[in-house]
């Protein structure tokens, strides 16, 4: 069965769910078919995927120096 075409707008709405695999198989197939044809949507997809990777960089928010020591002290002061 041929996949039903979808518009760029519909694709953008689901980009995030697509990356998280939170969409139906049918929708996934329609989106994949769309990405093959549409460079703009591919750019949006790749960029969004990059964002997810960049935000996931564990070193983005460093804890202040001595954070754990001070926390441990607080806990030691507990009854």
């Amino acid at each position: 069965m041929a996949t039903i075409e979808i518009s760029c707008l519909e694709v953008w709405r689901e980009i995030s769910n697509f990356l998280d695999e939170e969409i139906s198989t049918e929708m996934r197939e329609r989106m994949e078919a769309h990405f093959k044809e549409c460079a703009h949507c591919r750019a949006v997809l790749d960029g969004t995927r990059n964002v997810v990777g960049l935000v996931g960089d564990g070193k983005l928010f460093q804890m202040p120096e001595g954070f754990n020591k001070r926390l441990y002290k607080k806990i030691q002061g507990l009854p």
Partner: protein, 213 residues
Amino acid sequence: MSMAQSQLRANEAELIKSVCDGECEAFYELVRPYERMVYATAISVVKNPADAEEVAQEAVLKAFSNLASFRAESKFSTWLLQITYNEAKMRLRKARSHLYESIDDPRPSEDADYWPKDFADWRPIPSELLEDQEMRQAIRKAIESLSPCYREVIVLRDLQNLSIKETTIILGVSEASVKTRLHRARLILRDALAPGFDGSWVKGQAYRKVRPW
């Protein structure tokens, strides 16, 4: 649940029991693996490192006093982060209580429509750039400039890698809201960071916007 996960839960249950039996020492062992998450959750709400540290400490102490009421319906880490999030929100409210402005977000848009502004093709990011301080700074700034409801959700989901389910519990919002806010947060960040990635951060290349209309 994987073997490792159920092992972790069993260990935590042991530690919780020890703490409730009066062994305070066990408490630090219980929270230590989540220090960073507690801090990141706090800073996603209060923004400033000193406040985030105080919130984190308060939250951990609260978790200690309320440990007996922890029912293993959720993971210990989820419960701890939920306390942290509420503590951070409360602090923000207190800090602003003398102001007449509304303390809550302008209502977040639950409408999924966000039109990407730029269609530049992001080349794969060179790995040496990932270690670049300037680049980290730009990402941090972009995250900080998001509206609170988007910032919180992206910090929990993409920075801390929590599941959608865990995120709904911590924020106390529906799964649909988490998905919609996450979607917007990611697309806004993508637009905000696009100029950095398609060339302008690689020496000698100027950024060219790609706008189809």
